[in-house]
Amino acid sequence: MIRKLLLTFGICLTVLLAKAQLGYNYAQYDLGFSAALNYAYTDAETVKGTPAVHLHFTYNQTPFLNHIAEVQVGRLAGGDSLLTLSGRQFKNSYTAVSFRTQIQAGEFLDYERSVIFNALKNVYASGGIGVIYNNMSEINRQSLYIPDFYSGGRNNSTEFFVPLKVGYEFKIFNSYDEPSVKVDLGYQYNLVLGDQIDGIKAGTRKDAYTQFVLGVKFAIGGFTSYRKQISRQ
């Protein structure tokens, strides 16, 4: 009789514990892609919006602490050979590889008892290091207006950059209350540790480019539990 009672109690306890884990689980690995709108701030006098696509693999140390390896393929462009004094104009068909660590507010917010904190838990900031491979598909170095004004530089170059990003990650939960799909909306500032993303070396400031990013990530495996519930009941 006692054995039957103990067995029944044990089964009930297991079911209870299993129920308690619902909402705590997450995948450690995500795979995703993004579309970005780039703006390059360089030695060229005007700024143009250009597209890029990103492919990324994410290791989720926790649901709110993420390590991201990313490949970017896209274009950067700027300047105007006809309408600007310097005549600088470029199109850079670039490839970049970067590694970022991203921390979301949920890592340190107690969002379980606050609607506002629950909404803010997906706000994130991230930083890292990357390498950009610049390839000028078009470039104009000669001023149309100032005689002898020539802007020198390299058509192909490799430079390190520091990606800094802020954004919001919408988590979409599956029927097991696990974040299986994430939609990422972010703004990324890439401080290039060089002066060649426009193919022109001039001035005193280094080049930079910014990106408005819209992406999606899919959980691909490595399920584990977090210390608190990821979704909010």
């Binding site: 700024v47 921390i103 340190f108 207006y145 100032i146 002898d148 800094l164 802020v166 001035g203 930079a208």
Partner: protein, 148 residues
Amino acid sequence: MKKVYGLLFMVVILFAAGCKQDPPVVPAYLQNAKLLGKWYLKEMLITQEDGSTSSLTDFTDKDYFDFKTGNAATYSSTIYGSTYEGYYSANSQNSPNTLSFKSGSLLLRYDIYSLDPLGNLVLDETIVDSNSGFPATTYYRYTYNKTL
């Protein structure tokens, strides 16, 4: 708490970095502060290939170069019968130093023979005329002064 500070630090860096650009500065070797101001044409000395010379001095207040900051310049000439707004460059990397002025399709190139901000600006121009079948070279020397 360290994570909070880390997050704040990254946000501050992000916005402090801003999106600034370098202004389009004309390289120093294309600028010459001694040129700045209005220079009136006083004399044009013409030397033909055979060594014969002639001189013109009857110029007016409509014959001048006006060099401004930012490499902007105005060129006025009664010979051309017009005034041109454009840009100049004084290239100190060339030997002798050169002075160029461009306004639309008009491009003037001179060698700077001498430049004294309190005295004369003397410019040399060489024109090769090939229209007659035999290249004929004519040398022009222009003397400008800041006094009218």
